[in-house]
Amino acid sequence: MKALTGNMLQDGEAVFWSHGRWVARFRDAELFDDAGKAEAAEGAAKSQQTVVVDPYLIDVIESEGLWAPLSFRERVRCLGPTNHPQHGKQADGGDDIDALRHAIGAARSTGRVNLIKRK
């Protein structure tokens, strides 16, 4: 499963592709189980040069019944900096934020700042 992400040109915010538009929360991202459709979306995104910078596809895994990016780096982009939990998208809270914090993809950490739960 994949999602498509990039940063908005004007403010640099991390955003996610959803059926031709860009959304701020990962929970609202369109997920692709078809590689061809994902690459087609990436191609469309790359043509939006005045909207988004450097769009790229990311791998997605299941976490607590929801979805989360596989890589730790991408989860940090979905949340915000772990040293300032009041900054970034994580500040709003919610089940999707918890699922991202608890995700244990290939980039499994050991949960010291509660970003990722230890198993």
Partner: protein
Amino acid sequence: MYQYDVIDKEFTDDRVAEFREQVGRRIAGEITEDQFKPIRLLNGLYLQLHAYMLRIAIPYGTLTSKKLRKLAWVASTYDQGYGHFTTRTNLQLHWIKLKDAPDILAALGEVGMHSMQTSGNTIRNVTADPYAGATADELDDPRVWAEAIRQWSTLHPEFSFLPRKFKIAVTASAKDRAATRVYDIGLAMRRGRGGELGFEVMVGGGLGRTPYLGATIREFLPTRHLLSYLQAILRVYNRYGRRDNIWKARIKVLVASLGAEAFARQVEAEWEKSEQEQVDLPDIELARIRADFTPKFEALKPRSEAVEKLKASDPAFARFLRHNVHPHKVPGYALVDVSLKTPGQTPGDMTSEQMNVAADLAETYSLDEIRVNYTQNLILPHVKLDDLPAVYAALKAAGLATPNIDLISDIIACPGLDYCALANARAIPVAQHIAERFADPERAEAIGELKIKISGCINACGHHHVGHIGILGVDKKGEEFYQVTLGGSGEEDAALGSMLGPALPADKVTDAVEQMVEVYLRERRDGERFLDTFRRTGVAPFKEAVYADAH
């Protein structure tokens, strides 16, 4: 400190106007990201994980209260109310919007600040001994020379497209507080046999993927020839530096591959044939610069009864004096270190409110000067001894008086994977966790000088190679792991650290630090710092303690 003149001001204003137009064209789609990226980088604007990051130059780490207040205002108006001081003595703002960047640069321009050459393959912001102009052990104020280099190198047409970035540090003391051995060029002032002042010129130091300590290519360069000699070094680098491979493009690789002696011969030959007098600074210009670095000190008693009285009654103040207050060259004054390392906080971070407090203190008590140290702390360089109790109280109220300078909780950490697009692992939480473990000031004091430096990737912004304990975040099959090195130093006894052993998972790092501290406390002899003990014992006892469980 140095004040911009009319020409400087017009120039920076023009530059802001040009960038404003370039940003407008990018947003309108008239230029592509590939075309725009080098332009924004030349103005210190990076795109990171959560937003744009603006790196603001603080030449030789020197600020006035007006400049620091402007930084505070920018941080609270355009960012999230805080900034991050870096190991290059710059300030990074991590939540910047592209559309605001021209307004921010215009605001900075009002106080003679900018972001030029804080990125790109240019001569970057010049750094200097943060105790410059205040310490008794210097031969001259190195900022006079750093400012000369800044003026010469800013948008220098010949050196605007170097093979790779280029960093210069200057000190005028035997005690190296500017990490000159790990710079592309390190300049250390020496006194010649006839009493003349000159520089020991070190070239080819650097950290990153292939760390090197700089090699001395000239023991003594008369100060008056500084700029022409720098030009010769840059010309040799510009001619022979590797442009085909980014990992081999720094001057350190050129110096290492040619050998320091062969490189020195090339520089000397280039220097001999160059028209030195056209580049070297005329005495009159040097005097003009120097006039801006001559604060007016008062004649004071070398001892303060107020300080002695409070020291006797307040152990916390006495501890602050021991660790954060240092002798000044003028009797009756002191240097005061302002710690940005309260355990649990992000190393180097400062809120706008704290910046305003520091600015007020600088204005009232420190001849309007404040310094940024590459250790990610600030310094009030010229505080009267009689004012120390008031300064201490104000710093304490603002959370800026942690008495831990050079102790185990005074940790350097780069922004790491919490912000940086290049990072492989986080650095800040590792620093926070270690600092919290050693938050007890008595314990930290008993351990003594111990410099921990943490980087979130091999680019080594956190100087891990030269930490007494260096910690490097690596991505090991997608997980955050940390490689530990021991025995590094970025000072006059400069050394690159030795590898402790296999990388540790994140939750083992603080325990490993504690185990190594226990080995040190067990093994140390009278007066030895952690570094001294390590150099005597070697890595074996530390390795044994940390990896005991694995055997």
